[in-house]
């Protein structure tokens, strides 16, 4: 039955070659655990991607209950945590996944650095990777505010005041970020929009570029 369905699709879209393009890419021995005990360091980027997918999935389901409003943000998070079935598990996955994805993207960055993989011809992929690191950091910063508890409030206060301390542009950046003179009721929907709309859009574009470039240029050679 599945074979017939596959044939039906293949007749129309010729997915065989396309699928081979995506899935079949022989890996060199130095990234194969059969030949090298250190092959696992080449998994760090893939693990980061897995964690990012997990963040998107759990984030979508957290949005079913979370309300980005000054009166409701805290109690909706409390509801997810205390009452909703599996709510504390989904929020726990999102909470720990956020830290884990930063740990792994950082280790991936170190791997690329120590193996010298950022060098010619992969400079542009390194730049996109650094932008991805910044995007993940911004995800963490904007997501931290959303529970609207004491820790969220004061951490954001400190964060936006760091932006404020930039010369000349600082006060502008702070106001545009928080949507007012300081962290206020308008900051929650603003950070929420950045967290669930603007950053995911940027993330997708950068990730596609990151993956297309590595497929085009393939993994860098052994040390």
């Amino acid at each position: 039955m599945f074979r017939n369905f596959y044939r039906w699709l293949d007749d129309r879209f010729s997915i065989g070659p396309a699928w081979e393009d995506i899935a079949v890419h022989p890996a060199p021995p130095h990234v194969n655990p059969k030949y090298s005990n250190w092959a696992f360091i080449y998994c760090l980027g893939g693990i980061t991607f897995f964690l990012v997918v997990l963040q998107i999935l759990t984030g979508i389901f957290l949005m079913m209950y979370y309300v980005p409003d000054v009166n409701d943000a805290y109690i909706s998070v409390k509801y997810i945590e205390d009452t909703a079935s599996f709510g504390s598990i989904v929020r726990g996955m999102h909470h720990w996944g956020a830290s884990a994805s930063l740990v792994f993207i950082f280790m991936h960055t170190l791997r690329v650095f120590y193996t010298g993989s950022y060098k010619n011809p992969r400079e542009l992929n390194w730049i996109v990777g650094v932008l991805l690191l910044l995007v993940l950091l911004l995800f963490g910063f904007t997501g931290y505010l959303l529970p609207w508890d004491q820790k969220a409030y004061w951490a954001t206060q400190v964060g936006v005041n760091i932006a404020d301390s930039l010369p000349i542009l600082g006060p502008w950046i702070k106001s545009l970020l928080v949507g007012g003179a300081g962290v206020n009721a308008m900051t929650i929907p603003r950070f929420f929009t950045i967290h669930v709309m603007i950053l995911p859009a940027i993330l997708m574009v950068l990730l596609v570029g990151h993956f297309l470039m590595i497929r085009r240029q393939s993994i860098s050679g052994p040390l």
């Binding site: 400190v158 106001s175 545009l176 949507g179 007012g180 003179a181 206020n184 009721a185 308008m186």
Partner: protein, 197 residues
């Protein structure tokens, strides 16, 4: 004229000869005109989309005014002493976008005859000049201590321990009918700028 131009533009020409159609001096070619038109319309559409959305995000954010407790009474003159700061907390109406509520203002007040500029009252804002946390008065050590990064300030709000880059803000104080009235907020820029004299 137009027909001639079109013919020239589509016909393959021998190498080395002028490829662009003959255009009289001071006039633009049809292609150039269309390029400019398309570019202009495209640009207008992009600006027409971005102008309102950027304005919507930026203008309310940049024009919002912080609410402060200026004009509020902090208590009677006899409520305060020279020895210790009194922490005064009160609520003032605040408007943040569509959200109207009461926000809390916190001021530390102490009498001090040396502090002549604001009527012999030292009124210090507890908002740390480093990254905006709230400092609290430590009576045993005679300092304001910031819980976030350990900045310390003396009884005039001057920095005694970094990382705070400048003194705490002070407020104007006026005394009316025995009531202590809070005035404008004064940021201080130099590390030991005072509020006296």
């Amino acid at each position: 004229m137009d027909e001639k131009n079109e013919k020239q533009a589509t016909d393959p020409q021998p190498a080395g000869e002028e490829q662009t159609p003959v255009v009289p001096q001071g006039e633009m070619s049809r292609r150039q005109f269309l390029n400019y038109t398309f570019g202009g319309v495209f640009g207008l559409i992009v600006v027409g989309m971005l102008w309102p959305v950027i304005g919507e995000a930026a203008v309310p954010a940049l024009t919002a005014k912080p609410s402060n407790g200026s004009g509020s009474s902090l208590g009677k003159v006899s409520d305060f002493n020279e020895k210790d700061f009194k922490s005064i907390t009160f609520q003032v109406p605040a408007t943040e976008g569509w959200y109207q509520h009461k926000t809390t203002v916190n001021v530390y007040v102490r009498k001090d005859p040396k502090w002549t500029k604001t009527g012999g009252f030292v009124a210090i804002s507890p908002i740390c000049t480093h990254l905006g946390c709230l400092v609290s008065w430590e009576p045993q050590r005679n300092i304001f201590l910031c819980p976030c990064h350990g900045s310390e300030f003396d009884k005039y709000g001057r920095v005694v321990h970094p990382p705070a880059p400048r003194p705490l803000d002070y407020f104007d104080i006026t005394v009316k009918n025995g009531q202590v009235i809070l005035g404008a907020d004064h940021p201080r820029n130099s590390p030991d700028e005072g509020g006296w004299g």
